[in-house]
């Protein structure tokens, strides 16, 4: 008889999860939605995302728990911000974000679609909002000023007005090469007018101002960049 008690061997949970994911991929036992999002693939890559970005989310209560919403967020280079917004919202609410701007060229486009990327088309955004999805809409790039919210054109929020969906300002605060990010989610911006050309213009101005305010409040003083 052995001097050591028999202890059942348990593989590390990451290894087990990976093995299970591989098994599901090989048997086709996973879901891909109509826009190409693959929740199973996102879960598989989640540990890697956690290594790359550590995200603190503020203002989760401002996100709708059901139904569509347009999340307008700032970006500097625009490499980390879409991933940070999508991951931050997912870890806070469990909901997936479809980020506008995936190219329609293989293999980059189809791969990005697996992670929630969608085409930059008004009818694509309208369809997503109508289906009750959260849509991440990046503002214009501002590479020079980290604390400056970029431009936002009227056409980009038109779908939200037409669908009657809330427009939520989101400030992504962090450095492209850094790991620590903060996501500040503001209260939904309500249009002042019901309809008409001014409604969209005013909504865009109010949303941009809200993102700028959240950026000003969310950023710590920096002496280097």
């Amino acid at each position: 008889m052995s001097a050591f008690p028999s202890v059942p061997f348990e593989a590390p949970s990451v290894a087990r999860a990976t093995a299970s994911a591989v098994r599901r991929r090989l048997s086709g036992d996973y879901d891909v939605d109509e826009w190409g999002l693959d929740p199973d693939l996102i879960s598989t890559f989640d540990p890697l995302f956690a290594l790359r970005w550590s995200i603190r989310v503020v203002g989760t209560e401002n996100l709708p728990t059901i139904g569509g919403a347009l999340l307008v967020f700032n970006r500097r280079l625009g490499i980390s911000e879409p991933w940070v917004v999508a991951r931050g919202v997912r870890q806070a609410t469990g909901r997936f974000v479809r980020t506008v701007g995936a190219p329609d060229h293989a293999p980059v486009g189809p791969v990005l679609r697996r992670f929630g990327g969608v085409l930059d088309r008004p009818d694509e955004v309208s369809g997503l909002l109508g289906a009750g999805q959260l849509v991440g809409m990046p503002m214009g790039r501002d590479v020079i000023n980290r604390e400056h919210a970029g431009a936002l054109h009227v056409a980009r929020v038109r779908a939200a007005i037409d669908r009657g969906c809330p427009v939520v300002p989101v400030a992504a605060v962090g450095r492209e090469l850094g790991r620590e990010w903060k996501l500040v989610i503001g209260a939904p911006v309500a249009p002042r007018r019901k309809a008409g050309p001014l409604a969209a213009a005013e909504l865009v101005e109010a949303t941009r101002a809200a993102v700028q305010l959240q950026l000003d409040d969310g950023q710590s003083a920096s002496w280097w960049w």
């Binding site: 090989l26 891909v32 826009w35 190409g36 189809p110 791969v111 085409l119």
Partner: protein
């Protein structure tokens, strides 16, 4: 109600007619096709007419004087006919049947089989089009369907009746002649895992119920009808326990030639669907028709299940 069903000889047409036969509000049914019906029919006057025989087709349609026309005479390339023949038959059938229908005094509505191929899958096209998205076909089959819709719209305007375009996702089923179904059932299936987008399918039985519901609804305009959810080509192949063969770019030409040699030719619209995806927003179709198509994944699983054919004897049939 007197119903004229074109394309009745196919699986879909015969099933639609069988459903009409069980509907007491349907008093008379007339069917036209170049091929005989696939199942037993009980109270249908069937006319075996080649779609290009316009004179006979027009005579039968005018003599029957239908109240509702369900135009299923749309031939998918490489389903039963080769590409060019399918295109020719579809155009000839639409022009003769719908042209004659516009001069039928009793006509109340037209239902036309179309497909989500009319939206096209060009670069940058919307991923999940609804019925408001413009028609921009990018395949010969899509062009055929767009032509049928155009002819039907003109006929409906001339007769001043509503016309429903039922834009179906590719119809697939265990006994349905479908190029996609045949291709996916090959033992080794060429796929492009780095470029593929999801597609939806529609089960043959759900398609039949959708056409019967459309005949009663008399909706004016297009309606998308698709199975819920979507799958990618690689996923479908894995579900069916086939061997996926990664292919890119010009490799598709060789893959389609090999598939043709193996008896599963892959027409352009099917190839586009497998690589560029093919889904549509079918919320309006479900609401108007009241038909809840089964999930695309279920359609795929059933496609691979190869359910045995149940032979029913005449005595058992009488007893049931």
């Amino acid at each position: 109600m007197r119903v004229l069903v074109t394309g009745m000889g196919g699986e879909l047409g015969t099933r639609v007619v069988n459903l009409f036969e069980h509907d007491d509000s349907v008093t008379e049914i007339c069917g036209i096709d170049a091929y005989p019906p696939r199942r037993r029919i009980h109270r249908v006057s069937f006319h075996r007419i080649d779609p290009v025989d316009r004179r006979r087709t027009v005579a039968v349609v005018r003599e029957f004087d239908p109240e509702v026309i369900v135009h299923l005479g749309v031939y998918e390339p490489n389903a039963r006919l080769a590409g060019a023949a399918a295109q020719r038959g579809t155009a000839a059938s639409a022009v003769s049947v719908l042209g004659a229908a516009s001069s039928c005094p009793s006509l109340r509505s037209i239902v036309v089989r179309s497909g989500i191929e009319v939206y096209g899958r060009g670069r940058g096209s919307v991923s999940r089009p609804d019925e408001t998205v413009a028609v921009r076909p990018t395949s010969p089959f899509g062009n055929s369907l767009a032509l049928v819709e155009r002819v039907a719209r003109e006929a409906a305007q001339a007769a001043d009746v509503p016309v429903s375009f039922i834009r179906c996702a590719p119809i697939v089923g265990p006994s349905f002649p479908s190029p996609v179904g045949r291709y996916l059932r090959l033992p080794v299936v060429a796929v492009n895992p780095l470029a593929e987008l999801p597609f939806s399918l529609l089960h043959q039985e759900d398609a039949a119920h959708a056409f019967v519901a459309a005949a009663a609804a008399a909706h004016d305009g297009p309606l998308n009808v698709c199975g819920t959810g979507a799958v990618t080509a690689s996923q479908a192949v894995r579900i069916g326990r086939r061997v996926p063969l990664p292919v890119m770019g010009p490799g598709w030409w060789w893959a389609s030639k090999a598939a043709e040699l193996l008896g599963a030719p892959l027409p352009p619209h099917a190839q586009q669907m497998l690589v560029r995806g093919g889904v549509a927003d079918s919320d309006r179709g479900r609401a108007v028709l009241g038909v809840e198509p089964r999930a695309t994944r279920d359609v795929i699983e059933q496609l691979y299940r190869w359910e045995p054919v149940a032979m029913v004897s005449a005595a058992e049939r009488r007893a049931s």
